[in-house]
């Protein structure tokens, strides 16, 4: 090494110092690394936890007190700018809040939190929001979540829609209750695409070569390929995934896909880099409200419905206050405030009535926007709409491995 850098640090006209590493120093270094190796060689313990028993849940909550504050970690653009719902929450309950927009991506958030949770250190958040899917399942299986005391969630029991109770990814809402749900469909830039898009096959249409955006998330692209092939993701198995993988590969090799996007797809489609893209409903509606030429379509073959849920991570300092806030967001008025800003699917059906009642009091542009929202099938899906929507398949550990092996190479060209 020293030989390497000598030329950089030494005067070219000067003397040549004997700054070579001596053998003794080299040995000492080797000794240190050996110690490091020995230290690190112990491995990492497995954390797999058994499902909680009722008694454990009760034991955890017994004697837990309200502390008067709560820290809420959430995704960006998931709370009105003025944080009004949280302010009224504080007025009514006296619980102070801290709101942090620290979650951008499930994998990322899980990857960063995992070592801390494994070491038994608190994350510093009382509520976190994650999407149903691979990483949420891992949180459950690794025992990183606190089972919820539903006795303290009366508004959830009274106001949550039946579709949001007892979901397949979290039986009996043991660990989570929904914050918002959303639909993965197709965003269309109407400035460039003149035909009416209804089918998912448009994403495979050579006419749009190089102008189609797909998502980099493996569960998202897998679902879309399966819709295109007429496979129900919930019932899919390995051979179906292989077919779906081939379908995506074909799309990629034909040069139809411009790129596999993360959240940045919405900018790309709004400015016309891509004309059609897989998209999350609320993003598109927010852009539409801002006057950009984008439209959201739930393809006739199907779309994906996903749920972003609130949960309490292990080591949370204020679990009772966390439950109070989670439940507060299920009051119809509060839920309506959220829905109006977020434009995703609310888990509280009564919001539609609250907003419909509000239409009369508005005028002009605002009235039109509100009417549009209340009648939108991607914000308040009807039963017929729900019939077309599917979840991600909940994968076992062994399945996850083969699933990722099929779909990851597609996005990692």
């Amino acid at each position: 090494m020293s030989q390497l850098f000598r030329g950089l640090t030494q005067s070219r006209f000067g003397r040549q110092d004997a700054s070579l590493v001596t053998r003794r120093q080299a040995l000492r270094l080797a000794g240190l690394s050996a110690a490091g190796l020995a230290l690190a060689a112990c491995g990492v313990q497995g954390q797999k936890a058994a499902p909680p028993r009722q008694s454990e849940m009760e034991k955890f909550w017994a004697g837990k007190q309200k502390n008067g504050k709560v820290v809420f970690a959430n995704w960006p653009e998931y709370m009105p700018e003025g944080r009004d719902p949280l302010k009224t929450f504080q007025q009514e309950t006296g619980i102070a809040w801290e709101y942090k927009e620290v979650i951008q991506d499930n994998a990322d958030f899980f990857g960063k939190s995992e070592p801390q949770l494994r070491a038994g250190q608190p994350l510093g958040y009382d509520i976190v929001v994650m999407t149903n899917g691979i990483h949420f399942t891992k949180m459950q299986q690794l025992g990183y979540l606190i089972p919820l005391d539903h006795a303290q969630l009366p508004n959830f029991a009274a106001n949550a829609g039946t579709k949001f109770k007892n979901p397949s990814y979290d039986a009996n809402n043991t660990y989570s209750i929904p914050f918002q749900a959303g639909i993965t469909g197709i965003a269309v830039n109407t400035e460039f695409v003149k035909e009416k898009i209804t089918s998912i096959q448009s994403l495979w249409d050579p006419k749009y070569k190089g102008k189609v955006g797909m998502m980099s998330d493996t569960q998202e692209i897998a679902n879309f390929a399966m819709f295109a092939l007429g496979i129900d993701p919930d019932k899919s198995t390995l051979p179906d995934w292989e077919k779906a993988g081939a379908k995506l590969k074909e799309q990629r090799e034909a040069g139809i896909v411009r790129k596999y996007y993360d959240q940045s797809y919405i900018d790309a489609v709004a400015r016309g880099d891509i004309w059609l893209s897989m998209a999350w409903s609320g993003d598109v509606f927010q852009r539409q409200l801002a006057g950009e030429p984008v439209e959201f379509v739930v393809p006739q073959e199907g779309g994906t419905i996903w749920v972003d849920s609130m949960m309490i991570p292990k080591g949370a300092a204020n679990p009772v206050d966390a439950l109070a806030l989670m439940d507060y967001l299920y009051k119809p008025d509060t839920a309506a405030q959220l829905a109006e800003f977020i434009q995703y699917v609310t888990p509280v059906p009564a919001v539609k009535d609250v907003l419909s009642a509000k239409v009369g009091s508005l005028s002009g542009e605002d009235k039109k926007a509100m009417e549009l929202m209340v009648s939108s099938s991607a914000i308040f899906p009807s039963d017929a709409d729900y019939a077309r929507l599917r979840s991600y398949k909940t994968l076992s550990n062994a399945e996850e491995q083969s699933f990722q092996n099929i779909f990851q190479p597609i996005t990692q060209g």
């Binding site: 030989q3 390497l4 000598r6 030329g7 950089l8 070219r12 006209f13 040549q16 270094l29 240190l32 690394s33 050996a34 110690a35 490091g36 190796l37 230290l39 690190a40 060689a41 112990c42 491995g43 990492v44 313990q45 497995g46 954390q47 797999k48 994998a107 990322d108 899980f110 990857g111 960063k112 995992e114 891992k138 299986q141 690794l142 070569k209 190089g210 990629r252 896909v257 411009r258 790129k259 596999y260 993360d262 940045s264 900018d267 790309a268 400015r271 016309g272 880099d273 550990n397 990722q404 990851q408 990692q412 060209g413």
Partner: protein, 287 residues
């Protein structure tokens, strides 16, 4: 007593740096090596099995991205060298009193976050953006021409982001060239070209060497440019390591890839040091 203290002094002086290196360099690298050799998964835990085969496995799986990264890093470094050398030369010899202004201008982009600057390129070079749309309207480029999501965009991003790290060391080396040496060369009937090739260039080689080190290494392992400016087949090894670590939670594979990347870069640098070696630089300077 005084003699003992004097004997100990160099060691005591080296202690803070030594500790720093031990804690933040040696331990992490040893840990990384150890994790790479473990097997298991997140659910069942990882245990040490000295699984040397992992290096072959990850290379077989990701050799495309590995080689691509080295090629991209290499091309970007060469372009930077070609662009940076005249810049540094001009600032060192021709800029006169405004030297510090130009140096400041080169550093100015650093006041804005690296990621933000790269995202801004996404806006500037958008298919329908302020650069390409007028050119297309004038009929200068075909309808389906685009820059984003291509290899050119990724390499361009690398060049843009790391260029100052090439300019500054070369500038420092050129700045230290004594003008009298050039005069002497001219007195000895060297033309301007001769004087540059035989005197100035060799004297600036350590700067070039430092510049190449400071750009090739980060450019090769950078995930940001490929992520933001790249398309479906521009994924670099940095993106793969990121995915293995954060998405798949496959810590051994991520560590093995990082370790291999480090090893390849180090070997490359040693070969390079030999080829353009510091000794040769000294010889060239003395000639």
């Amino acid at each position: 007593m005084r003699r003992v203290r004097a004997a100990l002094a160099p060691y005591l002086l080296a202690l803070p740096g030594g500790l720093w290196l031990a804690v933040f360099l040696v331990v992490p690298i040893a840990t990384m090596a150890s994790v790479a050799l473990q097997t298991g998964n997140l659910m069942d835990g990882f245990s040490q099995t000295f699984n040397i085969a992992i290096f072959g496995e990850v290379f077989a799986q990701y050799h495309t991205q590995f080689l691509r990264s080295i090629v991209y890093g290499g091309i970007a470094t060469v372009i930077m060298l070609v662009v940076a050398y005249p810049m540094a030369y001009w600032i060192a010899f021709k800029a006169g009193r405004r030297k510090s202004v130009y140096l400041f201008l080169i550093l100015l982009p650093f006041f804005v976050s690296f990621v933000l600057r790269t995202i801004s390129w996404g806006f500037l070079l958008a298919d329908d953006g302020i650069v390409l749309a007028p050119l297309r309207d004038l009929g200068l480029i075909p309808d389906d021409f685009h820059i984003l999501a291509t290899t050119t965009a990724v390499i361009g991003g690398l060049v843009y982001n790391f260029l100052p790290f090439m300019v500054l060391p070369i500038y420092v080396a050129l700045e230290r060239v004594d003008p009298r040496v050039i005069e002497a060369a001219q007195d000895l009937y060297a033309g301007r070209f001769q004087a540059f090739v035989r005197v100035v260039l060799p004297l600036s080689l350590p700067g070039v060497f430092a510049g190449v080190l400071m750009t090739f290494i980060p450019a090769t392992s950078d995930p940001v440019n490929a992520q933001i400016l790249g398309g479906t087949s521009n994924t670099m090894i940095g993106n793969i390591i990121y995915t293995e670590y954060l998405v798949n939670n496959d810590y051994p594979a991520a560590s093995a890839l990082s370790f291999m990347l480090m090893a390849v870069l180090l070997i490359g640098i040693f070969v390079y040091a030999r080829a353009l070696g510091t000794e040769n630089v000294m010889e060239a300077a003395a000639r």
